[in-house]
Subunit: 270 residues, 2 copies
């Protein structure tokens, strides 16, 4: 049996009772540790909180399907930060289970995709979720721009998920076959705003105001005790220190009167 | 202190440890019982599972802000099915707390908006979430149609949330001032498909194929032991008995190859 368990956004105690019961009944418990990152807990803390050893499964172990190796005879749990289907790789695992005749199930939890409602903008007024990647000298993807424009044209809010780089190998080390990992990097709200404005200034289609005056909300560490939410113009937010990761950025569409009072609680005050 | 606690989708044990701790520490625990509905638990079962009396807060108690009456001096928890900000009324409560100087916090959980990823279509390929209402003889809202078309034109999937009518009073009883509630009604996937096709046949803008051949996924009781997911044409799904509520319908946009294998696990087999 293979069980995907969403462990929520922030802390070791964000797991559900159902999820914890699955962990307790499991023979092997992995933590998927590359598509996201648990804000306030290290794997050792999960081990302590759950009373069960938690093994870190890195990208190779998840993508190769190695985490399923013993799932035909043992109860294997894969803990996933947020909810279970935030990344295609988890869908792949369900498909592989089916092919191998291994029963699988999933236990849901909060993810940024629904928890972002805490910023005061209503979930049913969001358009497609978009992702921003760190640019390199040779790779500067901006295909999100058209979709941002399309959301904005329809008056919809846009949740931008910001890049996480964990266990990266530099081009130089890769070329030399050295498995030396770079320190993890997490895109900040400031970096995201800079990237959005840079693309706007180049494409000039008006997805956002190129002077940085469009209304947006920055959210950091949603769901944790240290959660920070600030609403303001993109320029204002770019100057805010949101602290530790994870950060996400919401570019507002039309703000409806039923949203104004709530989102205004997070306005920067002079 | 006022704490909104999301209790997830299905069962009493979908609450998080953090949420349960808030319940245990509370002086008063309400269950918000009109914007959604806990699939497999009655309030009495929550009371038993949490070891704490759970009081049902109906629409009037929530919308009037009555649930906040004692929150200035007591620890009041409002349990919300799914996540906490699925309905504008919960945002209103946060704003009211702010106005009254009552500290508030929220504890997130899964909602259909992220849990729908279990159907095999990727969350980041969904457009705006839409809601279908039961029609009456005089009120047949179809403003969702344009937005469905816009999602489909962009190749995006559309999650349709289906109406829930709880504690309705008939026009006749309302006119006579009688507080007699009609039995609760929950829109089925079949009813939703019928409504979508009826509007398509009238507007003929091609949001879906009017012959019912567009690809869709029906999901019922997501997150519970009796969850049912079926993928097929709208016509095929209309003939499926999805059983007890709650139902939701996903009208697929372009299905990407990274989604095909997963969603096909739920295809109707002849």
């Amino acid at each position: 049996m293979f069980t995907l368990v969403g462990i929520g956004l922030g802390d070791a105690d964000d797991i559900s009772l159902k999820g914890l019961n699955a962990v307790k009944a499991a023979d092997i418990v992995y933590l998927e540790a590359y598509t996201s990152f648990l804000i306030n807990s290290k794997p050792e803390e999960l081990t302590a909180a759950y009373g069960k050893p938690v093994l870190v499964a890195d990208r190779e172990m998840v993508e190769s399907g190695e985490v399923l190796n013993e799932a035909d005879t043992k109860r294997v749990v894969l803990l996933v930060v947020g909810d279970v289907f935030g990344a295609t790789t988890h869908s792949d695992l369900v498909v592989r289970c089916h092919e191998k005749g291994i029963p699988s199930q999933c236990i849901h939890n909060a993810s940024i995709i629904n928890a972002v409602g805490c910023c005061g903008l209503q979930l049913y007024r969001f358009g497609q979720v978009l992702s921003l990647c760190f640019w390199t000298d040779t790779w500067r993807p901006d295909s999100w721009y058209e979709r941002l424009k399309s959301n904005r044209d329809a008056g919809l809010h846009t949740l931008l998920l910001l890049d996480i780089k964990v266990k990266e190998i530099s081009d130089e080390n890769l070329a030399r076959g050295r498995k030396i990992y770079e320190p993890p990097r997490y895109m900040t709200i400031g970096q995201a705003i800079e990237q959005v404005l840079e693309v706007e200034r180049s494409k000039k289609l008006g997805a956002v105001a190129e002077d940085g005056s469009s209304f947006a909300v920055g959210v950091a560490r949603v769901g944790s005790q240290t959660q920070k939410i600030v609403a303001g113009t993109m320029n204002e937010l770019a100057a805010v220190d949101f602290g530790e990761p994870l950060h996400s950025l919401i570019i507002a569409g039309d703000v409806h009167e039923c949203e104004t009072d709530h989102v205004n609680l997070f306005r920067l005050t002079k």
